[in-house]
């Protein structure tokens, strides 16, 4: 799907909405599979979003400063005998962008304000685990 300047793709909007909903429910951080599952439940879809599509969208949202991520403590993952999770949460810029979309703005990133609010980290890597 071709992207208009400053606009978000439908999947990106959905991810941000799910992240905001999770934040409201007191679970501000979600890992990739949880987001995929929430998206499917929300849309009544039988299929989960594809790996490549989901993580590419998450990376773009983080690069735009609408999401931020961190790798969870490896000890937590080891304790639960599972691979470490990368946890995403919505940022203030993300909430603002969604509010603008709700007000009818088709290109909430047009003036690049949200991008400027980004963390500047490499979205493909995420924040390293703090020890």
């Amino acid at each position: 799907m071709r992207r208009k300047p400053g606009a978000l793709l439908p999947l990106e909007v959905s991810i941000c909405e799910v992240a905001i909903e999770q934040r409201r429910q007191g679970e501000p951080e979600s890992h990739g599979f949880a987001i995929a599952k929430l998206l499917a439940e929300r849309d009544g879809a039988r299929r989960l979003t594809a790996h490549g599509t989901l993580y590419k969208a998450l990376g773009r949202l983080e690069a735009a400063g609408l999401l931020q991520s961190r790798w969870e403590d490896p000890e937590t993952a080891a304790h639960e005998r599972r691979p470490p999770r990368r946890l995403y949460q919505i940022t203030a810029a993300g909430i603002e962008a969604m509010a603008r979309i709700a007000q009818g703005d088709p290109a909430p990133l047009q003036n690049d304000r949200s991008r400027a609010a980004g963390t500047g980290r490499d979205p493909a890597v995420g924040e390293p685990v703090s020890s």
């Binding site: 990739g32 299929r47 979003t49 490549g52 599972r82 691979p83 685990v129």
Partner: protein, 335 residues
């Protein structure tokens, strides 16, 4: 719930794909992506297990397949193409497809005779300029002999396949002529272009001799010319194999021009296994139930195996050169 073979297959396929498309990226980026997908797959399996559902093998495969275009797009975003798109992407893809097609055609001899002829020539016409592009791109880093052998070997093996089909399905050998002209003429031209005049003249002389002797009838026509063409083909094939193996083990071929030596020695070396094969074939199959399968067909069959191995190695080299190497000073996100 332990996954069955199909679940294990799905997980391994997903992991192999992630490993494949993250190869060559900085280690930190690649490891982050792999760790994230690993986590996702694990969570999906656990989610199914907790819900008492069977292992979601097809769902996993579906998520993997549907995401492939985005995976590739992500990869290209991470590493913008620095060279010509032809060199970076189109070249390896077209080469792989061309030779995959060649293998397909070889495996499907039921194609009509008219089609076979053109189907077999097309890969040669397609891949020769592509390989030439690759040779030009790498000319500063690889030995001339290796470059010449890549091109000569590729074309030659394709022509040997064509001859095999001609012998078996068309019951004639018109492709020997093509082999002589394309192999020797092409190699001579390449040798001249790359600067080895002695080799170029030598190969042109062989070509001229082949044309001259073919004007006679008798044993020259039936024996020496096909043998000459096939020995030349085997010489190129062996060089091609050596190039691929050497590159697989990260060793550069020597930077001296070995083509005269190759021309002189490799046909002899190639003739020995051919005669050995003939001996084995006659010994075990004195009355073969398949009369069409003759000595040269067996030889060509061996060439096909070598061809696949050599071009697998070449594809690896092209891929590695295209997407570079992983820097060693990066750390993983979990480190």
């Amino acid at each position: 719930m332990r996954p069955g073979w199909e679940g294990i297959f799905a997980v391994r396929l997903v992991r192999a794909w992630v490993w494949f498309y993250t190869r060559g990226l900085p280690a930190r980026v690649a490891e982050a992506r792999r760790a994230e997908i690993d986590s996702d797959v694990w969570e999906q399996l656990r989610d199914a297990s907790r819900a008492g559902r069977p292992v979601p093998s097809f769902a996993l495969l579906g998520r993997f397949v549907r995401g492939v275009p985005d995976d590739l797009a992500w990869r290209l975003e991470r590493e913008p193409l620095s060279g010509s798109p032809v060199q970076r992407v189109v070249l390896p893809v077209v080469v792989v497809l061309s030779y995959g097609w060649l293998a397909f055609v070889w495996m499907n001899g039921w194609l009509s005779e008219q089609l076979v002829w053109w189907f077999l020539l097309l890969p040669v016409l397609v891949t020769a300029p592509i390989l030439a592009l690759y040779v030009r791109r790498c000319s500063g880093r690889l030995a001339r002999a290796a470059l010449a052998l890549i091109l000569g070997g590729g074309v030659t093996v394709a022509l040997m396949l064509a001859m095999l089909v001609a012998v078996i399905f068309l019951e004639q050998t018109p492709f020997v002529w093509i082999a002589i002209f394309v192999l020797l003429g092409g190699a001579a031209a390449l040798a001249l272009i790359l600067g080895s005049r002695v080799t170029g003249v030598l190969m042109l002389a062989v070509l001229a001799a082949a044309v001259y002797f073919d004007s006679f009838s008798g044993p020259w026509r039936d024996a020496w010319i096909p043998i000459l063409a096939l020995l030349g083909g085997f010489a190129a094939l062996i060089g091609l194999l050596a190039f691929g193996v050497a590159n697989l083990y990260e060793r550069a071929l020597p930077r001296w021009n070995a083509l005269p030596l190759v021309v002189a020695v490799f046909p002899l070396a190639a003739a020995l296994p051919q005669y050995f094969l003939l001996f084995v074939y006659d010994f075990f199959y004195p009355r073969s139930p398949w009369p069409r399968l003759r000595f040269w067909d067996v030889v060509n069959l061996v060439a096909v195996v070598g061809f696949v191995a050599a071009y697998s190695a070449l594809m690896y080299v092209i891929w590695r050169d295209t997407f570079g190497k992983v820097p060693s000073d990066e750390t993983t996100p979990q480190a």
